[in-house]
């Protein structure tokens, strides 16, 4: 039976891709790229299966191998990486010999079975797929090969249990969960709410300016700790909307006096901000300890200190 034109075209499109991807597996420098190459080969293979009228096999290949097995593989590659070296110390004495014996036994069985098996004539696709492709596959798996399937299933379950047992660790300390953590935080008298966000000013809203509390005092904790330790905290007066200063300037200008910055400052009183604190040695928190004088023009309510 000669393949149809479409099938030939599909083959010649997929074959070079698969060969390239397969050699990519050998030559890729990064493990994730190699894994991607394997995925490409698997999906192309699935296309070929479907083209050869084995849609069930093709789709299951993608669902099981590409979707689950390869995904887990990639998962481990990303999380652990390939640098993690295995310990080569043998903990089970004599396992090598048992392994060789088992391998030899398996080889003998395989050679014996394959050598003695008789192959019936091929029945052809039409007859094999007569009850529908999935139904045909199901008849073979759950009819002729049901015992083999059950044995392989038992083996897989054993392997999964083995993985569970090998990776199991005894819990040495009691599990600390959310309620315990919350109780500990309350008992310690620590802050219960999230830290306040940094301030937003007319001319600046980066993380280095503190927010103001209802009294108009800067909240030190609203600036990230790292910036405070580095001494990169900015003052607040530097960035506040300077409406009052502008108003004073306008009033002075209206009176017909030539206005200089010095005069405005004199009219306002001092508005100088605290200078930026110098970088502190790591491990200490710095930042304005006293209230920053926002000048008389701030709209905050006066409070007793």
């Amino acid at each position: 039976m000669t393949p149809s034109t479409a099938e030939t075209v599909l083959f010649w499109v997929l074959a070079p891709i698969m060969v390239l991807a397969a050699s990519g597996l050998l030559f890729a420098r990064k493990a994730v790229h190699a894994a991607l190459c394997v995925i490409t080969v698997m999906i192309s293979l699935a296309f070929l299966y479907v083209a050869q009228e084995a849609p069930f096999l093709g789709v299951v290949q993608v669902v099981v191998y590409t979707g689950a097995v390869m995904m887990l593989f990639l998962f481990v590659l990303m999380l652990v990486g390939v640098d993690a070296s295995d310990s080569l110390v043998e903990t089970l004495k004599g396992q090598r010999w048992v392994g060789w014996l088992a391998a030899l036994g398996l080889g003998v069985v395989l050679v014996g079975v394959v050598g003695r098996a008789t192959y019936p004539d091929a029945v052809g696709l039409a007859e094999a797929n007569a009850p529908g492709n999935p139904t045909g596959v199901a008849r073979i798996i759950f009819g002729q090969h049901v015992f083999g399937l059950e044995v392989v299933g038992a083996l897989l379950v054993t392997a999964a249990l083995g993985a569970l047992v090998l990776t199991h660790r005894q819990r040495l300390k009691p599990l600390v969960k959310q309620p315990e953590r919350a109780a500990a935080r309350v008992a310690a008298g620590a802050r219960l709410t999230p830290l306040p966000a940094p301030g937003v000013y007319a001319r600046h809203n980066a993380m280095d300016v503190p927010a103001l509390d209802p009294d108009g005092n800067p909240i030190d904790e609203s600036v990230p700790r790292v910036l405070r330790i580095r001494g990169q905290e900015a003052g607040t007066a530097e960035y506040r909307a300077d409406t009052y200063r502008r108003a004073v300037t306008a009033v002075l200008a209206e009176r017909g006096t030539a206005v200089t910055d010095g005069e405005v400052d004199a009219a306002l009183g001092t508005v100088e901000d605290d200078p930026r604190p110098a970088a502190a040695p790591p491990g200490t928190t710095t930042g304005p300890t006293a209230d920053i004088d926002l000048g008389g023009g701030s709209t905050r309510t006066e409070t007793e200190r």
Binding site: V62, L79, P134
Partner: protein
């Protein structure tokens, strides 16, 4: 690109096209495939534009605000404006990124999401320019498995996007997403298997054909519930949107993506919502079949021609509304709760349900029993199970705390606590003062506060309710 590939696919698969379940594709020619593929693409892209607007409007209504209402009638062009904004934004490629994978990841996500609709039946046979053809691009005996396969390959987009950004939050988002999709795909697959068992096929058109008398929603209600839960988990939507949890992971796997590359991910998420809604419609809601009272009109005339397209789209949007409703109602799960729910609740219950369905179907098929004849037995079995469940000793409720006679310690355990049953609050300092004042001067009204001996620290605090302290 997708359209052409989807169109070429049937040509490459003559067997699959010929073996199309209940749908007959034998009349199809090249331009019909092309037309259907382009039609699906246009339907998906338009639906995404509408879905974004729809979601924002409905969530807005649920939160008592109007939602987008500026651009176009009812704000309909808002999504267009958003799309234009994304197109014109600066396209940042992270310096430390793995360039190739970083570029390819969004395409994988979108490409795989576009594939699913190829096997969804939009309607029965119609005549397109003289060619009688089913309103479905293609169908084959393992169509529903194909949908699962596309979904599982689509996750690679998310995983690779998160990894290639070479940044912490995207990687964490990608890892979460992988674990999430793998765990919820199991429950989803198991719930779909019960439909396969009853319908006797995995081809979408045959599953729709098998729901002529009753939608699978009714006999398979538990499987439907499991499917709905896992479809929300599969599409990374609230309350299961842990891969992109803003409070924890900034933007999850999309953190380092901007402009059009971000838009691809966004598009894929919404197309996936449409996909899982369409699958739920096809497998549980009778596909394109008219809902019950309408199906009686004119001897089923509403189930022929182009009418079913309307029912199909209406049912899909019903599920889209469900998505939005859930988003507007539920809070995000914590990650460990989410995993526990998937592995310890959803998968076991899906397995139990699957065994029940398999047993009933086995008795029907091999024992030759009729469903109606089996109903009393089934009812009896359920009654016995319910009766047995009463024999299980109830978990002892924690004994009510005995009224404690210990003196009340307001700071037991180090932080302020209310009194336990049996304990009583000590009188407040203010009440004590009032009592003392009443004792000291029983005859005259206490205009001046009591003795300022024990509350001296609070200089300006009112020491008694009757004393007025002028406040500045």
């Amino acid at each position: 690109m997708t359209a052409t590939l989807a169109a070429v696919l049937p040509t490459a698969l003559p067997a699959a096209a010929a073996d199309g379940g209940a749908a007959d594709f034998s009349q199809d020619v090249f331009w019909v495939w092309l037309l259907k593929a382009v039609g699906i693409l246009v339907f998906l892209l338009l639906s995404v534009l509408i879905a974004i607007w729809f979601e924002r409007r409905v969530v807005g209504r649920m939160q008592l605000r109007p939602g987008p209402n500026v651009h176009g009638p009812f704000g309909l062009f808002q999504s267009l404006a958003d799309a234009m904004k994304l197109l014109l934004k600066e396209d940042v490629t992270v310096k430390a990124a793995d360039k190739l994978v970083y570029l390819v990841a969004p395409f994988i996500a979108v490409f795989c999401s576009l594939l699913t609709m190829a096997v969804i039946p939009f309607g029965p046979e119609v005549s397109i320019f003289g060619v009688v053809t089913p309103l479905q691009l293609t169908d084959f005996p393992v169509a529903v498995l194909y949908i699962l396969a596309c979904a599982s390959v689509g996750v690679y987009g998310i995983v690779l996007g998160g990894w290639s950004s070479n940044s912490t939050y995207p990687l964490l988002g990608a890892v979460r997403s992988t674990a999430q999709v793998i765990s919820y795909e199991l429950a989803m697959g198991l719930s779909l298997v019960s439909v396969f068992i009853l319908a006797g096929s995995m081809s979408t058109s045959e599953i729709v054909a098998s729901q002529t008398t009753v939608w699978w929603l009714i006999p398979l209600a538990p499987a439907f519930v499991i499917y709905v839960i896992s479809m929300v988990g599969e599409t990374n939507r609230l309350p299961f949107d842990l891969p992109e949890a803003e409070g924890e992971l900034v933007g999850g796997y999309t953190t380092e993506y901007s402009s059009m590359k971000f838009a691809w991910f966004f598009l894929a998420e919404y197309i996936n919502m449409l996909n899982v809604s369409a699958v739920a419609t096809t497998l549980f809601f009778g596909g394109w079949r008219a809902p019950w009272p309408l199906s009686w009109i004119g001897d089923g005339v509403l189930n022929t021609g182009w009418w079913p397209l309307l029912w199909f789209v209406a049912k899909v949007w019903l599920f889209m509304f469900l998505f939005v409703w859930i988003r507007g109602t539920l809070l995000r799960f914590r990650y460990d709760q989410f995993m526990k729910f998937g592995w310890k609740v959803l998968i076991p219950s899906a397995l139990v349900w699957l065994v029940c369905v398999a047993v009933v179907q086995g008795v029907r098929q091999f024992g030759g029993a009729d469903v109606m004849a089996m109903l009393p037995w089934l009812g009896g079995a359920i009654l016995v199970i319910v009766a047995l469940s009463f024999l299980i000793p109830e978990k002892k409720a924690a004994a009510p705390a005995a009224p404690s006679d210990e003196p009340f310690d307001a700071f037991a355990g180090g932080f302020p606590v209310p009194p336990l049953p049996g304990q009583s609050l000590p009188p407040s300092p203010r009440a004590r003062l009032r009592a003392a004042a009443a004792d000291a001067a029983p005859a005259s009204p206490a205009l001046v506060g009591g003795p300022a001996t024990d509350q001296g620290a609070d200089g300006d605090a009112p020491e008694s309710p009757t004393q007025e302290v002028p406040r500045g």
